[in-house]
């Protein structure tokens, strides 16, 4: 389909090692999730999903109210809130802050939001070093690559790939054992944590009634990023809000289980500002950067704004048969899989990414596992009609539109339908596979129309 990265998709499909890596990694995450939400482990799973959906719906529909509450509470605890329209404003803020505080080194924990705005690249040319500290993200940063998956960023790399990257970029001797590779990264990054001037984290949730950010992780790098440097900046999309700390009981139960099958990740940090009173350690300054970057645009669409409920668990990716074949790098944006397919055309342009909503068989596996019940197939269908409409306005896609208009006309006129059917049956053996048929035929033998349609067989049957 036009616009789709057909070449790279084909390369991915033809790479057996990569296919196996994607299939087994996502398969494992699927299994872990299934165990964690099974009737034995979590009998109230469906109730939690319903509740999470309602809370998100309520919050998104009253976002301005909760943003105000959030800001007031952050300020009350000694932090500051910076609203940023886009990545440029975020970079300006961070650069200004770094200059004011003579900062040279930033340590970063995993944040898809920061990937979205190319945070590291924006800071690169300003004598400011920003180091990724999540192991997978660190490897990717050294390799100059994009994340492959929301939760498992280096899913596509082998230990040999990692060994190459470390040797080339860190100058260490070739090391292929994952445990030792981890030790290397730990040692390098520990130095960075201890020397860093600023720590940047994302936020899985923003808590309005507490002025707090919640960060979940397994490695400890988010805790370190927010505890050793004197300045902590949390960057989060405005849609990460939930109203109350007590709502975490629902969301944390769903997030870990849906993402990796863990009832709770190793570390869950609930951070509400700089250190207080007699606390011995913690940052002196706390900044909450709230990012729009197009989210307010989605808020205005009552049908599609449920796309903003996403808590970035990655379950939809793991269950998507298309993602499991084409992998994360064939999606045009940092968000891949079904969630990427619905938000990318909404954040960017419906025509530029117009192929994306069609790269789905509408199997519905994603909607079945989404912890916040986003109706992904429904939104894909909605986006498809928006794409065809946009094409029509641009004067493109005329041939396909004509084909479907003919389809509708034939199907609304039974006698024409019957005639067309029989002509098809007669001519089919003569039709060479060309155009769209050729592509279909490349994968499979074409089905043959039956010699007699059911209509004909029935008529014959009746006459007996």
């Amino acid at each position: 389909m036009t616009g789709a990265p057909s070449e790279t998709i084909k390369q991915t499909l033809d790479d057996p090692r990569l296919q196996l890596a994607i299939y087994t990694a996502s398969g494992r995450l699927m299994d872990h999730r299934a165990t964690a939400v099974s009737a034995g482990a979590l009998p109230e799973y469906q109730d939690l999903r319903t509740q999470a959906n309602l809370i998100k719906k309520h919050t998104i529909e009253n976002l301005d109210y909760y943003l105000e509450q959030l800001e007031a509470n952050v300020l009350a605890h000694g932090g500051q809130v910076i609203f940023c329209k886009d990545g440029e404003e975020v970079a300006d803020f961070v650069l200004g802050l770094a200059k004011k505080n003579d900062a040279r080194l930033i340590v970063k924990s995993k944040s898809m939001t920061s990937e979205e705005i190319h945070f590291n690249e924006r800071l690169e040319h300003h004598h400011l070093e920003a180091v990724e500290t999540d192991l997978g993200e660190y490897i990717l940063q050294l390799a100059h690559q994009r994340p492959y998956h929301i939760v498992a960023p280096a899913l596509h790399m082998t230990r040999y790939d990692v060994a190459d990257v470390f040797t080339k970029r860190l100058g260490v001797e070739k090391e292929v054992v994952p445990e030792n590779q981890t030790k290397i990264a730990r040692a390098v990054l520990r130095e960075k944590f201890l020397q860093a001037d600023i720590g940047v984290t994302g936020a899985n949730f923003l808590i309005a009634d507490s002025g707090a950010v919640v960060v979940v992780e397994n490695e400890g790098n988010a805790r370190l990023s927010s505890s050793t440097p004197k300045i902590h900046i949390a960057v989060a999309g405005i849609e990460k809000l939930i109203p109350r700390a007590q709502d975490l009981a629902v969301f944390l139960d769903l997030l870990g289980r849906s993402a990796t099958g863990q009832p709770l990740t190793v570390y869950t940090s609930f951070l509400s500002g700089p250190r207080r009173g007699e606390e011995v350690d913690g940052p002196d300054q706390f900044y909450l950067v709230l990012l729009d970057n197009g989210r307010t645009k989605l808020l205005t669409d009552p049908e599609k704004r449920q796309s903003l409920y996403c808590i970035r668990c990655g379950a939809c990716l793991n269950h998507c048969p298309v993602y499991r074949k084409i992998g994360g790098h064939n999606y045009p944006w940092v968000y891949s899989g079904p969630i990427g397919a619905i938000i990318t055309p909404q954040f960017h342009s419906i025509t530029e990414d117009g192929w994306l909503p069609f790269a789905s068989s509408l199997c519905g596996a994603c909607a079945e596992v989404c912890p916040v019940k986003i109706e992904i197939p429904k939104l894909l269908l909605k986006l498809r009609s928006e794409v065809t409409e946009a094409k029509r306005r641009q004067g493109a896609g005329g041939l396909e539109r004509l084909a479907f208009q003919m389809f509708a006309w034939v199907m609304a006129h039974p006698k024409i339908y019957l005639l067309a059917g029989r002509m098809g049956a007669l001519l089919a053996p003569l039709v060479p596979p060309v155009g769209p048929l050729k592509k279909w035929a490349s994968q499979r033998t074409l089905p043959r129309p039956a010699k007699q349609s059911f209509h004909q067989l029935w008529a014959a049957r009746k006459s007996k």
Partner: protein, 239 residues
């Protein structure tokens, strides 16, 4: 008791034997089977390709053809759910047609569900000697919540052994125009499914959706494998 058949355009043009099999089973159970001649299609291909207006045209015709049917029985999960789950969206701005949908949709039944819940028949007197495996087609599974029904019906077929495949619930890769727009991905998805089928060493794969079977058969033939694709109706009709 009278039931109307909506055979679907795929069965009509490519697998008419499925429609005949469905009729035979229903007649065996004592139903008088009617086939409204003017039927064509439910409109799904247009709807799924982003042409709701064109889908509406076809859907209106469907509502007209089956207006007076007491029961409409359909050998397809996806066509059934198109009518019972998506006509709502298609006619949301047309109150008259919406009302017609509300009146007709409850009378539209996927074939296996009709047998179990209306005819209340689990054993339809069928005989099929062989090992089969079952493919859970996506719309049937996730929109109509059909999972155990067909398996219960297969369990009562004399001589039949059902062997479950890993990933029975994984999509076959058809997705209508998806298979034309993304043929390589569609083919890769089918091959993964077929690997799963081969592991069971079944000689046939059964489903309640002919489009899935058409997709799988195409790749099976390309690979030259000795696996048949059978609609549930064909199995239940065999003696």
């Amino acid at each position: 008791m009278k039931v109307s058949l909506f055979v679907t355009c795929v069965v009509d043009q490519v697998f008419p034997q499925v429609g005949i099999a469905m009729a035979e089973v229903l007649e065996r159970l004592g139903y008088e089977v009617d086939f409204p001649q003017d039927q064509t299609c439910c409109g799904q291909p247009a709807f799924n390709s982003g042409y709701p207006e064109e889908a509406r045209t076809v859907a209106r015709h469907f509502l007209d053809v089956f207006r007076d049917s007491e029961y409409v029985v359909v050998p397809s999960g996806s066509c059934t759910s198109m009518i019972t789950h998506h006509y709502e969206e298609i006619f949301k701005d047309d109150s008259k047609r919406l009302e017609e949908t509300h009146r007709l949709a409850p009378r539209v039944w996927e074939f296996s569900r009709f047998l179990l819940e209306v005819a209340k028949a689990e054993d339809v007197g069928a005989r099929y000697d062989g090992v089969v495996t079952y493919h859970d087609s996506c719309h049937a599974l996730r929109e109509l919540r059909i999972k155990n029904g067909p398996r219960r019906l297969l369990a009562k077929v004399d001589g039949l052994t059902l062997r479950e495949m890993d990933a029975a619930e994984e999509c076959c890769g058809f997705g209508g125009t998806f298979s034309i727009k993304f043929p390589e991905v569609s083919g890769a998805m089918a091959r993964t499914k077929i690997d799963s089928i081969r592991k069971t060493e079944a000689s046939a794969v059964v489903s309640i959706d002919s489009s899935c079977l058409m997709q799988l058969q195409g790749v099976i033939d390309r690979l030259g494998l000795p696996i048949r694709t059978l609609h549930l109706a064909e199995v239940l009709a065999s003696r």
